[in-house]
Amino acid sequence: MAITLKVNGVERSFDGDPSMPVLWYVRDMLNLYGTKYGCGTGQCGACTLHLDGIATRGCLLTMEAVADKAITTIEGLDSDGNHPVQKAWRAMNVPQCGYCQAGQIMSAAAFLSTTPKPSDDQIDQSMAGNICRCGCYERIHDAVAMAAVESSEG
């Protein structure tokens, strides 16, 4: 039986392998390339997307687990790319190669939605599941802090 789900607000139907991770579904079937493959084992966070608003690793999340659920990828975070986290990322010139950044942004956006005024330690703990091999951590930290301020003021 086909699995139905919402991706970035659009109703979708899937009748393939129910054990397929959502990462490969959005990339290979929907050509939504913002969600990245990094490790396939939930250790690096490059594939982070939102499952009903909660940051989730797309490489471990199977299609059967998202039946009748709503997922949001980086493409669906904000129609103009102006989520406070995205704006803060640009203001801080965070990226180097940029590959991990969609996952970082999705983690940060979900985190701030539940922790609008985080401490420095909370930021670092919440973002510890996302690896950046270029080493942009200092700016990631500062961008999350900036987005928190922007969101609470906005």
Partner: protein, 790 residues
């Protein structure tokens, strides 16, 4: 580096040059003659060699020779290749170097835009395909992009500016003295040189301007430093910033071709093993799996040839991964089945304790050691490392009708084009290589085995193929950073002076990937912190010991500089402790007085010098001392520290850039370490993009921390035992260096711009280890030394 190494090795094989990589480590790549050196240091006229003076702006731009002329396909200086101006004024610039995170896709074209007085907000960047005859060398490696292209970019920018001015002058029927380009338009000037208020935009001038003859270099005028609009300012964000934050930026896997299939490959666990038998019955039952394809492998030295194995081709990546899991492959034996890294490390240590091949001698080292009051000796170990760039290897290949089109994240697209063409029996003219953004490279994406695999499978299948490496594939089947033991000895005299210095380096060589294994470090590897050491001791012996390679050795960001800085900079702090000296003072004393090292007198006339002419990019200890003093001052060196806090310092010249790092650490009673602050001083000559220099230094600190504390590749019976981030860990945001302060030594354009991608890495690990020693008394000599302070 890729191309250049190949070229060096080819020259050697053909017996063309002085270079003798395989047997003679005293490699001559840039032989510096006595005469050249005297000209250089004698001041005045000697400096004029190869330089041209600009009419009216002699101080603004003196051209100088660089190593670009020694690179394959050199440089191309042709504005029609790099610049296109549309009638609406949009300026389209070609980025011909790959972008892997250093910012070169922004900073290199920005130089051209600045010199042509273009408004950056109206500039678009297009990425060049692999075509070196058209664009010049594209091998994005060796921290070379700005070092080699700042001059061509300025020249092309000045040419286009002149052409626009001439077109405007013609339009107004006036002469060139009555026009001036300024921020995307040409202004009309009156008799006194003041703007009349008349102007014409670049878009309107474009068709006439670009039809003008490109002026000769001698006819050009250049902006003075104070006229730069973007260079040196650091306020231009990277060109892909918005796309990266919205998920639109395209990396290697982000391309789809009609009818494309997806592949992953089962590769031999040990280099050199081949497929003995394969049972694909379960694989072919996996829904979506189409076929298996055997890929032929090659025993090193085989350059970038695939390892061989079985490709599983399917309708999506997941089916291919599942199909591979169900595959039963029996692999043959390999001559490298007995490679075990702990035992190999012991062998390297034993070799390091025996006299090695002498690469360089100063004074009478044997006498100094024989007569020493005391000899201090230590060994420093560094394991193999793997790049672990966030984007695992991937390539899309479409082989159709005797033509091949590639989309891939590659550092050297023209090298890929020629290598892939040869592998699938085409000519380079039949192959197109489109370059995506690189999700990190660090040297791994210089080697195109993964692209060749994709091309072979596409050819076999007759369909486009996206060939994806998993993280495990990436970690287990790489071209690895070499492992090494650096042995350092110092002879101390009755006055507690260091009067003898011996550095013996033992590590398998990169050359073994390209040519029969010479079993000893090569000339260009010796040129990275061994032969070229700035240490100023009266009696010195620089040596290399033998070590055979048992895997594919490649290069990793900063290459051999990592183990050399690890050894030398740790040892200096150990000597300081031994002699009751301050580590920074000891470092400065051993660097010696500010001087340009005479490579002949110092017995290092055969220095590689990163391919750069020594006269233009000499080893200047004044600049090394300068960064040491700057970093120390900014970090508050010498001040009293609270309990549990300490500073460590290290400095290193690499890729003709000078970097010193002071790491501040904090330890708690239970031994947990944190790094609240890092001060990095960098002297990279004229600095084009200070903001990206800072980001590179921040990233280098994080990578340096990973090298110091976390990551080492281990071999068990020939196979890499690491597999993913749980057993090949890298630094995370939970334990990063919190504040990296970058201090850039300011220079005008006349001080040659150098590169910045790699030089930040080498000093970090020793600076951290030195700080840990200062705080706790625990000395680490083996990398990685683990998360907690012992």
């Amino acid at each position: 580096m890729r191309h250049q190494i190949e070229q060096l090795i080819e020259q050697q094989i053909e017996g063309k040059s002085l270079i003798a990589i395989s047997t003679d480590t005293s490699v001559a790549i840039n032989k510096v003659s006595r005469r050249q050196f005297l000209q250089m240091t004698g001041g005045g006229t000697g400096l004029m060699i190869g330089m041209q003076f600009m009419p009216g702006s002699a101080l603004a731009f003196k051209s100088y020779p660089t190593g670009a002329e020694g690179m394959p396909n050199k440089t191309v200086i042709n504005p029609h290749v790099f610049v296109n101006i549309e009638s609406d004024g949009t300026v389209i610039l070609t980025a011909h170097r790959a972008e892997m995170g250093t910012g070169s896709r922004t900073s290199v074209p920005m130089v051209l835009a600045d010199e042509m007085e273009a408004d950056w907000s109206r500039v678009k960047i297009v990425q060049a395909e692999g075509d070196e005859p058209k664009y010049g060398n594209q091998d994005t490696d060796g921290s070379r992009s700005l070092r080699h292209y700042i001059q061509p970019m300025r020249q092309m920018g000045a040419s286009v500016r002149h052409m626009l001015e001439q077109a405007a002058a013609k339009n107004w029927d006036t002469d060139a003295t009555r026009v001036k380009a300024s921020n995307h338009q040409v202004l009309q000037l009156d008799d006194e040189g003041k703007p009349t208020g008349e102007s014409i935009g670049y878009g309107e001038l474009a068709s006439h301007a670009m039809a003008m003859e490109v002026p000769a270099f001698e006819e050009l005028t250049f902006k003075t430093d104070d006229e730069f609009r973007y260079m040196g300012k650091g306020d231009v964000p990277i060109i892909d910033l918005h796309d990266i934050t919205t998920g639109k930026a395209r990396y290697g896997a982000d391309y789809a071709v009609e009818g494309m299939l997806f592949a992953v490959v089962a590769r031999p666990p040990v280099v050199g093993a081949t497929v003995k038998s394969v049972d694909s019955s379960e694989t072919l039952k996996v829904p979506g799996v189409k076929k298996i394809v055997e890929i032929a492998g090659a025993m090193p030295p085989a350059k970038f040839a695939p390892l061989g194995g079985i490709a599983v081709v399917a309708t999506n990546t997941w089916a291919a991964i599942k199909g591979r899991k169900a595959l039963k492959v029996e692999w043959s034996e390999s001559p490298h089945d007995n490679y075990n890294t702990p035992e190999f490390a012991q062998q390297m240590r034993a070799t390091a304790n025996q006299p090695g091949k002498v690469l360089r001698t100063v004074g009478d080292p044997d006498g100094a050691f024989a007569n020493a009051k005391k000899v201090v000796s230590h060994e420093y170990y560094q394991p193999h490392m793997q790049h672990a760039q966030m984007e695992p290897l991937v390539a899309v290949a479409d082989y159709k009708d005797g033509k091949l089109e590639i989309w891939a994240p590659v550092q050297s697209p023209y090298g890929v084009r020629t290598d892939v063409a040869e592998a699938v029996g085409l000519t380079p003219e039949q192959v197109t290589v489109n370059v995506s953004l690189l999700g990190g490279g660090f040297g791994r994406k210089s080697k195109c085995d993964f692209v060749i695999e994709a091309a072979m499978v596409s050819k076999e299948m007759g369909t486009p193929v996206k060939l994806q490496w998993t993280r495990e594939d990436d970690i287990k089947h790489s071209f690895y950073h070499t492992t090494s033991v650096e042995r350092l000895d110092a002879a101390i005299d009755d006055h507690d002076k260091v009067v003898g210095w011996r550095h013996r380096s033992v590590s398998p060589t990169i050359v073994s990937t390209f040519a029969p294994d010479p079993g000893i470090t090569s000339g260009f590897e010796a040129g990275m912190g061994l032969l070229d050491t700035p240490i100023d001791v009266k009696n010195m012996s620089i040596e290399a010991g033998e070590a055979k390679s048992h895997t594919r050795i490649g290069w990793f960001r900063a290459v051999s500089n990592i183990p050399r800085a690890w050894g030398v900079q740790s040892f200096i702090a150990e000597l300081a402790h031994e002699l009751g000296r301050d580590p920074k003072d000891m470092l400065l004393e051993l660097i010696g007085p500010a001087r340009i090292i005479d490579p002949v007198a110092a017995d290092m006339q055969d220095l590689w010098n990163y391919g750069e002419p020594y006269e233009e990019f000499p080893n200047d200890t004044g600049r090394l001392r300068g960064v040491v003093e700057l970093a120390a001052e900014k970090a508050g060196w010498g001040q009293n520290m609270p309990k549990g806090e300490a500073l460590g310092i290290a400095a290193h010249r690499s890729f003709v850039t000078y970097v010193a790092t002071v790491v501040k650490i904090r330890t708690t009673d239970d031994g947990i370490l944190s790094i609240p602050e890092v001060h990095t001083a960098v002297d990279c000559g004229f600095c084009v993009n200070p903001e990206r220099v800072a980001s590179q230094m921040e990233g280098a600190a994080v990578m340096g921390m990973t090298i110091a504390m976390y990551s080492g590749i281990n071999y068990v019976n020939g196979a890499v035992s690491n597999s993913n981030f749980h057993d090949y860990p890298v630094a995370r945001i939970s334990s990063y260096p919190k504040r990296v302060h970058t201090h850039i030594v300011e220079h005008p354009f006349s001080v040659h711009a150098t590169g910045i991608g790699e030089p930040g890495v080498p000093p970090f690990a020793p600076a951290l280890a030195n700080a840990i020693f200062a705080a706790t008394g625990k000395r680490h000599r083996d990398l990685p030394f683990g998360k907690e302070v012992g």
